[in-house]
Structures are given as C-alpha cells and as structure tokens.
C-alpha cells in the first residue's frame, strides 16, 4: 500500500513519534535518575534533566561496588552476563543447526520421534523444569560455573524448528547438485547450508543473545558465589538489599549499563538481522 496524501503522512508520523516516546520515556527517566546525587531521585517532581553525578555514579557501580547494598563492582558481572549470553546464543544456534540438519537431511529410525520430542519441549519453559535441572547441575558439580549457567539453556526447540523450516525451503536440486559435485553431508552443511542460513543465524543470534542476557531465575538459583553473579540478577539484589533504602541513583545506573550490550548487538547486527527477517536469498 503506497499512500501519498499529506494528511495521512502527518498522521503516520505522529503515531510513530508517539510510539517512540512511549518506549523511550522510561529509559530516559532511568538514565536521568542515574546521574543524580543520592536522595535527589526521590524528590517530589521526578527530575527530568541531567544531574551532575554521571561520572561518579557510573564509576562507583562499575569499579568499586556498592557497600550499602553489599554488592561488588558491576564490571565483572557484565562480563559474566556477556559470557553467558554469548554461550547461550552460540550454543543454541550450533545445536539447533545440527539437529535441524539431521532431521531434515537424514533418514534414520526414530527421526520423527526425535523431531516431536524436540517440538514438545517448546511447552516446557525453563521455569517448569528448573528444579530437576538444578538437581542435575548440582550432581554434576556445575553450580557456580559458566558451564552450569549456559548448558541447561542451550537446547532450543524454537531455533531447531526455525532452521528446520528454513532447510525445507532449500530446493532438493541444490542438494543433488552438491552430491554430484562431490560434497559429502558435512561438506554440504559447511559449504552450502551454513552460508545460506547466514541471515537466519544473525537474526536468531540477536534474539538469543538478548534472551541469554536477560536470564534471571536460572543464574539466581545456580550461582551463590559473588564472582559468578550476572548483572540482571544484581539489579534485583540491590533493590531488595537488606534493611537499607534502595540506592536508586546507583540501581538505575546499573540498569542503564545492563541495557548497553544488547543494544550494541542489535545495532551491529541490524543490517543482517533485518535482511534475515525480510528476505531469504535463494
């Protein structure tokens, strides 16, 4: 639909601007709060202009930690979160690529059973199976490790399903051409299937990175050692820190920091991401 009436254009833009404002306002308020001096945040009209404590607040959270909330510096937590998010995103993509490859291109006994088993796990989110998973991880002595943070979240029915759907759109002739050209199964996977899935992988990476980064319940359960905390769980811990008033100017700073890596991932991957959503290069 191509509409060129000026009134319509104004209307469209107003709607979009309104949408942006609704999304951006809370983030702006959070950011402003993170630049205030202690106490200013909670003063009657919520401050809407930048305070002068930006450098101080951020270096405090990042470097020295918060004494009153008994929380260490946030920088190592960001690293933990980053490792976890990357691990989950890459692991999920690798595993689901391979399982989709197996399901689509190989005829083995129990193939459909395998597919439906994977598919059914879509109905079991992390929260439902969290206790048995915890038990398994504890038995394997994987509490307070990156492996423990990442491994249980790696299996992904959604990604497997998406890749399966994509692989099924790859023409049979292409597979046969590769066979005639002497490409064995793994060579076909590397040389042809993987490059063709590039945009899908990028799109999925963005989504999964954010999914991994935002994990809250699982890290909360499995980490007891402060050196393994992730930033998202840290925010929560600071809010409920025992007995003390929450230090909102610090907490908002941490929240803003927690926002940055996912945003960067989206920005850098955007070109590929959008391409992956709108076209498939076949």
């Amino acid at each position: 639909m191509v509409e060129n009436r000026p009134l319509f254009m104004v209307f469209v833009h107003l709607t979009l601007i309104l949408g942006v404002l609704i999304v951006a306002l809370p983030i702006y308020v959070t950011f402003v709060a993170s630049t205030q001096a202690p106490g200013d945040v909670l003063r009657a009209p919520i401050p809407m202009t930048m305070g002068d404590q930006l450098a101080h607040n951020y270096s405090a959270v990042l470097g020295t930690g918060l004494e009153r909330a008994s929380s260490g510096p946030v920088a190592p937590m960001m690293l933990n979160s980053f490792i976890m998010a990357m691990g989950i995103a890459i692991g999920k993509i690798a595993i689901s690529l391979l399982s989709a490859f197996a399901i689509v291109y190989f005829r083995f006994p129990g193939r459909m059973l395998a597919f439906w088993t994977i598919f059914i796990t879509l109905m079991l989110p992390v929260e439902v199976r969290i206790l048995p998973t915890y038990e398994v991880m504890a038995q394997l002595k994987l509490l307070n490790t990156y492996t423990g943070l990442i491994l249980p979240l790696i299996a992904s029915a959604t990604a497997t399903f998406l890749f399966r759907q994509f692989f099924m759109t790859v023409p049979d002739e292409l597979v046969e051409a590769a066979r005639v050209d002497g490409a064995g199964p793994m060579k076909f996977f590397w040389d042809i299937l993987l490059p063709l899935s590039r945009t899908n992988i990028a799109a999925l990476f963005v989504i999964l990175f954010i999914y991994g980064w935002n994990q809250y319940l699982w890290p909360l359960l499995i980490t007891t050692d402060e050196s393994m905390y992730t930033i998202v769980m840290a925010i929560q811990r600071m809010v409920v820190a025992a007995e003390n008033e929450p230090e909102w100017h610090f907490i908002t700073a941490v929240a803003v920091l927690a926002l940055i890596p996912p945003v960067l991932v989206v920005v850098f991957m955007q070109r590929l991401f959008v391409k992956g959503l709108v076209d498939t290069e076949k």
Binding site: A177, V180, G182, A183, K282
Partner: protein, 367 residues
C-alpha cells in the same frame, strides 16, 4: 568419454512400478534424447544413471565400470538441472569451480578450466557475479559451465531448457548441440518437448509409463513409429488413427469409405482389422479436374470439413470421412478452404502406417 549402458532397470516407488526393465546403450560421444509424457519416468531413469536414486534392480555401466553402488560424484558424470540449481551464495566462478575443488584438483588447473569454459559459453565477463544477478539464459549457461569444467564421461540434462522463453530455448538448443559436437561427450537429455527431441539428439528414446516404446534416429521415429503410442505422441498435429481392414490378398487397406493400396503388400496380415495411421502433413488435396491423370485419383479420401484453424503458414482442417471417422489435414497456409467444403484428399502409400489394434505394434511386411 565413455558409453553408458543401462540394463534391465526396474524402479519401484512403493507398490508403483515406475520403470519396467528399461535397457539402452548410449554410444561414446552420442547424444540420446529421452522423450515421453509427464510422469513416464524420464527423470527417474536419469537420476538412476546419475546415482541420485537407486534402482530396484538392473545395472548401469559407465564405460566399462559398473556404477550401481557408486555415489554420484564417483561416477564421473555432470548433471544440468531444470532449475539450474546454482549455489546462490557463490559467484559464477565459485559455482563452476566447486566440483573440481572437491575433487582436489590443483588451483591452476581449476582456474584454467573455468576460464576456458567461460570463454566457450560467453561468461567471461560475468565470473564474479552471483546467480541472482544473472538472466535466465545466463544462469543456464553457468549450469552448463559447471558441467563442462568437470570434463566428465557423460552429461545428464533434465529438461534444462524448460524455464526459458521460446526464443532463448531455440538458441540454447543450438548451443547445446554445438557444444556437444565440439566436446564429443556422451550426453543424455531428458525432455517432454518434441521439437527439442527431434532437433537435438542423435537418437531418440520414447518412454511411456516406464516402458521403452522405441529407440532410433529422430527421423526414423517420425517416419516409422514402432507403436501406436509413438505414432500419436510424435508429430504435431497428431497423427490420424483410423479403423480399417486389410483386404484378403493383403494389398489394400479399406477405411473411411475407400481403399488405399499398400506400399508393401502385407500378405501375412491379410484380412485383419488394423489401425491406420495418416499424418496430417502427408495428406494433400487431390489435383482436381481435367488436368488429373487418366485415373480418377485412386483411393482419394472424401473429407467433409467441420472446422479449420488458420495458423498462417499452415491451415489445419478438421473433418470427417464418409464413415464418420475424424481426420485432420494440414494444408498450405494459402490454401483456402471453408467449413462445409468437401475435400478429396490423397496420400502416398509409403506414408501409410498400420498398427495392430490390440498390441499397438507396427505391422510390417515380414519376408
């Protein structure tokens, strides 16, 4: 370079028998065209030769080698697919080089062969493009190039021209023929297009429901169809097939209210009921009036025209014989006829085809 021998190939998909004991030998350097209606098993046969499908029983030899259990890549063949099947993310150069690379061919040789093929096919300026930046005809050439660089023992084509427009198809047909003449590589070309089949191949194999109906030079298949199926399938407009009877001494056939002398007496089939085949293009109007030979045109057919198609170069007239059987006559385009006209039509005895109505086989004089 090698001959390809197919022996007693049977292929079942579940309960359905798609190929029923197909045998054919393709000579070294020959181009065989496999022609048949949709679903007759052409692609299946080609894919069995390529190794993309396994036969239920039967053997495929390429050269001296039995290849039944070899992977496609080990059979030393190259295939050109209907939809080209180019790798979308690779450049033209990479597409052509991929097979050689997998064989472990040294880089300089790959480069040289790709350059050569590109030159032959006029792709030299397009080597760095991606398939999606090419026109249909160019993609077709890349697919050919991918086959050529391998220098295989045989080329297999599965309807490679069916996605091109009519004009390009004629051109590519010519190019494939030229290329095959030049390279002298054994080739098998599957099509359901008659014109392609007639013009392209050294020999033609007509397949019907998994059975080989006839193998022969294109003109032979046209002029001496071995069965009713071939007779009807080859030629456009299709051959007229009428009911008739051979007379008692086997020298004439009676149908449509007249008698026609046979080119060769068929004494061994005297008195039989037969199917009579007449090609519309072999029927012509009898020269009428006083200039005619002393005989009243012997055995002219009396056709009552019911409707006509004016094609420009030709006029195709559809009508009925005296006994009500339908015939089609192809006349020159400037020949003016009208619905309701009566036409006296003759044909040379040599152009008369007779078939057994039960088995469909061609009836010949057996000496």
């Amino acid at each position: 370079m090698a001959e390809v021998t197919v022996t007693d190939i049977v292929k079942n998909f579940g309960k359905v028998e798609v190929l029923k004991k197909v045998s054919v030998r393709i000579e070294d350097g020959e181009l065989l065209v496999i022609l048949g209606p949709s679903g007759c098993g052409k692609s299946t046969l080609l894919r069995i030769i390529a190794g993309l499908e396994t036969a239920t029983s039967g053997d495929v030899h390429i050269g001296e080698r039995l290849v039944n259990d070899l992977e496609p890549a080990e059979r030393d063949i190259a295939m050109v697919f209907q939809n080209y099947a180019l790798y979308p993310h690779m450049s033209v150069r990479q597409n052509m080089a991929y097979g050689l690379k997998n064989l472990g061919t040294p880089k300089p040789i790959i480069e040289q062969r790709v350059a050569e093929a590109a030159k032959i096919l006029g792709l030299a300026d397009l080597l760095d493009r991606k398939p999606r930046q090419l026109s249909g005809g160019q993609r077709q050439r890349v697919a050919m190039g991918r086959a050529i660089v391998r220098e295989p023992k045989a080329f297999l084509f599965d309807e490679p021209l069916s996605n091109l427009d009519a004009k390009l198809r004629v051109q590519m047909r010519h190019e494939i023929r030229e290329l095959q003449n030049r390279l002298k590589t054994t080739g098998i070309f599957v099509t359901h297009d008659q014109v392609e089949a007639m013009t392209l191949g050294d020999r033609l194999m007509v397949l019907n429901a998994g059975v080989v109906e006839q193998i022969g030079a294109p003109f032979e298949v046209y002029s001496r169809p071995a069965s009713l199926f071939v007779a009807e399938f080859i030629g456009s407009p299709a051959m007229n097939l009428l009911d008739g009877d051979i007379d008692q001494d086997g020298r004439k056939v009676a149908f449509g209210g007249t008698h026609l002398p046979l080119g060769q007496p068929l004494t061994n089939h005297a008195g039989r009921r037969v199917r009579v085949g007449l090609r519309p293009e072999h029927l012509g109007e009898a020269v009428a009036g006083s200039t005619a030979t002393a005989d009243p045109t012997p055995g002219a057919l009396d056709v009552l025209i019911e409707w006509i198609e004016l094609l420009g170069a030709d006029t195709v007239a559809h009508g009925r014989l005296q006994d009500g059987q339908v015939v089609t006559v192809r006349l020159p385009g400037d020949h003016l006829v009208q619905t309701g006209d009566r036409l006296a039509v003759v044909l040379a005895p040599a152009n008369l085809h007779l078939f057994d109505p039960q088995t469909g086989t061609r009836l010949e004089h057996t000496a």
